[in-house]
């Protein structure tokens, strides 16, 4: 019997009950969320269980929703079951003022650089990360560029013609 989204959902609810919520299937990929304290428990369960063998971390990223007060930063994990070829998306929401999330580096070594990138661009502090510092931006940068509160353009340019950019 192959592993279907319904079966995964059943197993998760059986194990975690009310903690996992917001199940949806955009484009056929099961997506759910859990409170941030449970992120390692859920990841470990998905890894260790012999029926749901989600042992490959495809992606770890964050999204900034400036309008959801109290749940602004979402850390998104994409996991893949290589044996049955099933993918799953797991989201953890956190407040922008205390963006602490437990690190997944103990479980997946690929999470190391991906968490550094997420820290660099969104400011999510991964608790327990061995080397959390900026990876792609300049070390002296004091803001987190991908948060929607900062401008995309380089502010040191003085020669830009506002008319041409639709701002004049």
């Amino acid at each position: 019997m192959s592993l279907t989204n319904d079966r995964i959902k059943e197993r998760l609810i059986e194990k975690f009950g009310e903690q996992v919520s917001a199940f949806s299937e955009p484009y056929g990929m099961l997506t759910f969320e859990a409170p941030k304290e449970f992120n390692l428990k859920v990841l470990n369960f998905l890894y260790d269980d012999d029926e749901l063998k989600f042992r490959f971390l495809t992606d770890l990223q964050a999204v900034h929703y400036p309008d959801n007060k109290g749940r602004e930063l979402a850390v998104v994990y994409h996991l893949h079951n290589l044996v049955d070829n099933v993918r799953i998306r797991f989201k953890v929401f956190t407040d922008i003022n205390t963006p602490d999330v437990y690190t997944a580096t103990g479980l997946f070594s690929g999470a190391n650089w991906m968490e550094r990138e997420t820290y660099d661009f969104f400011g999510v502090n991964f608790v327990g990360h061995p080397n959390l510092k900026r990876i792609l931006n300049v070390d002296e940068m004091d803001y987190f560029p991908m948060r929607k509160e900062y401008p995309l353009e380089d502010q040191t340019r003085i020669d830009k013609d506002d008319e041409m950019f639709g701002r004049g």
Partner: protein
């Protein structure tokens, strides 16, 4: 098929089998030729530039095309491209330079020996190009002094060759004492280079 070719359709006969660089002005007689040292040194330097390609992105591919046999840069004396700054004259920065890469370009520039020239190929190296963002250096002239800018995104190989030819003009006319003069020192000071 597209339109028929309308340019360059008449075969041009080869004028000379070998082309030699022009002779500088001077006074010549039986067995001697007197000219200015500046001219001779300039002639030698400009026809044997050793470029250092600092190719980062798409302009690097155009440079590869320029060095290929169709648009040959080796005709102009730049046969030997070196990747060691200690041995090269011309730093060709081709491609987008991120702010994190800026100190690296500066370091490579510092390792070059005088006389050295810098050519910024492409829109990104000249001014940040279309990437007007927090991570891209808006022009390498923020970290190193540049002699020639080649605009284009990417510039055609003919444009890169034109840039190199202008560098050759600069080299040919450069005074031998320029690098020791005050103005040059001030230029380097403004970049923080001793």
């Amino acid at each position: 098929m597209g339109r028929p070719v309308s340019y360059n359709v008449n075969v041009k006969p080869l004028e000379k089998d070998i082309s030699i660089a022009g002779m500088p002005d001077g006074h010549q007689g039986e067995g001697f030729f007197a000219t200015k040292l500046n001219d001779v040194v300039g002639l030698a330097r400009k026809n044997s530039i050793w470029p250092l390609p600092f190719a980062t992105s798409c302009c690097g591919i155009e440079f590869m095309a320029t060095m290929g046999s169709h648009y040959d840069l080796a005709r102009f004396g730049s046969e030997r491209v070196g990747f060691s700054p200690r041995q090269c004259d011309l730093l060709m920065v081709m491609g987008t330079i991120a702010k994190k890469m800026g100190p690296v370009v500066k370091q490579v520039y510092l390792q070059m020996a005088e006389p050295r020239w810098v050519i910024a190929v492409g829109a990104c190296a000249s001014s940040g190009g279309i990437f007007d963002t927090y991570s891209v250096l808006q022009g390498i002239d923020q970290v190193v002094p540049v002699d020639v800018y080649v605009p284009g995104c990417p510039p055609r190989p003919e444009a890169i060759i034109d840039g190199v030819m202008r560098i050759q003009d600069l080299i040919g006319k450069e005074s031998l004492r320029r690098r020791n003069g005050d103005r040059y020192k001030q230029l380097l000071e403004s970049y923080g280079i001793q």
